[in-house]
C-alpha cells in the first residue's frame, strides 16, 4: 500500500518535470520575436526547449527567424509546433506538417506560410496555382533572412 502511494507520488513528480505540451494563450501571449500580441489562431507557432521552456510566436516566420538569430540555440529546441491552418488554434508537430506558401495566406508578420496536419487538408486549401507546397525543411530555408 505504502509503496503504491509512494510510486504514485513519484510518478506524478516525474510527469510534472517532463516536457509539457505547448499551449498558446491567444490574446494574452506576446510573440517572443516581434512582440506582437498573438491573436491569429491560423498562423501561431510555439517551441519548447530541452529545459521545458516554452516560446510563443504569432507567425511561423517569427519562430524560424528567432532560432536563426541565435536567441535560442537550434540544439536546444525539443519540439516545434505550428497551428493547423484548417483547424484554427490546434497545435501540430511542425516537422511533419504540410505547408503552403502563397498570396492566399496573409500571416501577421508576412511570412505567409500556412501549415496543415495532413496532405489532404492541404489539398483542400490550395485554391491558387501560385500557392507553393512545402515541407518543413523547405519552409525553414525559404523563411531565412
Amino acid at each position: 500500500m505504502r509503496t503504491s502511494i509512494l510510486s504514485l507520488l513519484l510518478s506524478m513528480a516525474l510527469l510534472s518535470c517532463g516536457q509539457s505540451e505547448a499551449r498558446i494563450d491567444f490574446g494574452q501571449a506576446e510573440c517572443a520575436h516581434c512582440r506582437m500580441n498573438v491573436v491569429d489562431k491560423q498562423f501561431g507557432a510555439a517551441l519548447i526547449t530541452l529545459k521545458g521552456r516554452q516560446y510563443v510566436f504569432d507567425d511561423i516566420s517569427c519562430m524560424v527567424k528567432h532560432v536563426q538569430a541565435g536567441t535560442i540555440a537550434e540544439g536546444q529546441v525539443a519540439a516545434w509546433y505550428v497551428c493547423d491552418h484548417s483547424a484554427p488554434g490546434t497545435l501540430i508537430d511542425a516537422t511533419t506538417a504540410f505547408y503552403l506558401h502563397g498570396p492566399s495566406f496573409r500571416s501577421p508578420m508576412r511570412g505567409d506560410v500556412a501549415a496543415f496536419a495532413s496532405e489532404e487538408k492541404r489539398g483542400r486549401a490550395q485554391v491558387k496555382d501560385k500557392d507553393e507546397a512545402m515541407d518543413w525543411r523547405r519552409v525553414r530555408e525559404f523563411l531565412k533572412d
Binding site: 494563450d25 490574446g27 494574452q28 501571449a29 506576446e30 517572443a32 516581434c34 512582440r35 506582437m36 500580441n37 491573436v39 489562431k41 491560423q42 491552418h85 484548417s86 484554427p88 492566399s104 496573409r106 508576412r110 486549401a125 485554391v127
Partner: protein, 444 residues
Amino acid sequence: MRPSLLAILLFCSANALNARTWTYRPAEGGTLKALIGRVAEGDTIVVHGLVDEGLVHIDKPLVLLAGKDAVIDGGGEGHVLAITADDVTVRGFTIRGTRYSSMDDLAGIFVNECRRTVIADNILDKCFFAIYLSGSRGAVVENNTVRGEPGDEDRMANGIHLWKCGDATIRHNRVEHHRDGIYFEFVTDSRIHHNTTVRNTRYGLHFMFSHRDAYEDNHFEDNGAGVAVMFSHTIEMRRNRFIANRGASAYGLLLKEINDGVIHDNLFTDNTTGIMVDGCNRIDVHNNVFRMNGWALRLFANAFDCRFTGNTFSGNTFDVSTNGSLKDNVMEGNYWDRYSGYDLDRDGHGDVPHRPLGFFTLLVERMPHALVFSRSLFVSLLDRAERLIPSLGPEALKDERPLMRPPNPTRSVTSGRQEDHHGERTTLPLVAIRAGETRLHAHG
C-alpha cells in the same frame, strides 16, 4: 486657350446638371443591383428601407445615400458592398451580414483599386472586416461607427483595414470589438485623426510597413494594446490619448523597428507600459505626459539617436527602464516627480542631474520576481543609496537639466479628464504592475 478652358468648365457643369437623383424603395419592386446597372455615371441613388439581395456591387461613379431606415444586409454570402469604381460615395447606411471566412478577407464595405472613395456616417454592424480598402488612393473614411460582436473576437477581423493604399484620411470614426481597430499595411502619406478605438482584441491602431503617415487627436482605451507602430518610418504621433492598456503584452504604444518618428503632446495613463521602444532610430519624444503607468518608458539598448525632452513623468511605478547600456540618446529637460534636487539659481532646472533609472528598476529588469519587494523599506533605502553614490545605472541615462515644474501639456491632451499634477500616488500603478508581473512570469 481660354475658350477651351471655358468649354471644359461648361461641359463639366452641364454634366453635373445632368446628374440625376433616383429613389429606391425595395417595397416598390426591382433590385438595387438593377437600378445601379441602369443609372448614369455620377448619379445619386437614395435608398429607403432594407436592401436584402446579397452582394451589392458598385462599378461606376455613384453617390449612394441612405434615406429612411436604410440597411444593406449581405445575408452572409460574402462582402456586403463592393466598390470597384472611382468617385463613389456611400453615406449613412447600416451595413451588416458578411460571411465569416478563414480564407477570404470579406468585408462590410470592400473597396478595390479605387480613387476618391468616400465612406461616411455609416454603421458597420458585426461585420468580419468592416471597411476594407485595397490598392486605393485618396479615400476618406469619416464618422462611421464600427462595432464587432463582444466576446466573439475569434471570428472578428480588423475594423478599418487598409492594404497598399495612399493619401487616405480616416477621421472621426469609432471602432470597437474588432481585432485591430484600424490597421495600416503598406499605406503611405495618410492621416488618421479624431478617432476613438476601444476594446479591440489586439491593437487600437496598428501600422506595418507604412511610411510618412500621421495620427493625431485619437483616443485609444482598453484595447489589447494601444497602438503598435512596426517596421515603418516617418510616422507622426501627436495629441493622442493612450489609456488603460493593461495586461500580458500590453503597451500604450509599441514601437518596433521605427525610424524618424515624432511623438509629441500625447497622454499615457494607467498603462502597464507607456511606451516600449525596441530597435528604433531618431525618435523624438517631446512634451508628453506619462502618468500612473507601471513602466512609463521601456527603452531597449538597441535605440539610437532618440530624444526625450520636455516630458512629464508622474506617479509611475517605474519611470524609465532599460535592458542594457544606452548610448547616443538624449534625455533632457523633463519633469520627474521623483526628482529631489534644488534649483538654487532659479533657472527652472534642477542643479544636479536626475537619474531616472533607479537601482530597483535595474534589479527588476534582470530579476522580474524582485517585484515582490516593490515599495519595501529596504528597496527605498537601496534606491536612496544609489542616488547618493550612483554606480549601477548607465552613465548616459540621466537628465542633466530636469525641470522643477511640469511643462504645460497641451489642452487637447488633458481635455475631458480632470487630473491633478501633484496629486498623491494612487494604487493604480500596483494594478498595472500585477499585470506586468504575469507577463514577466510568462517569459521569465
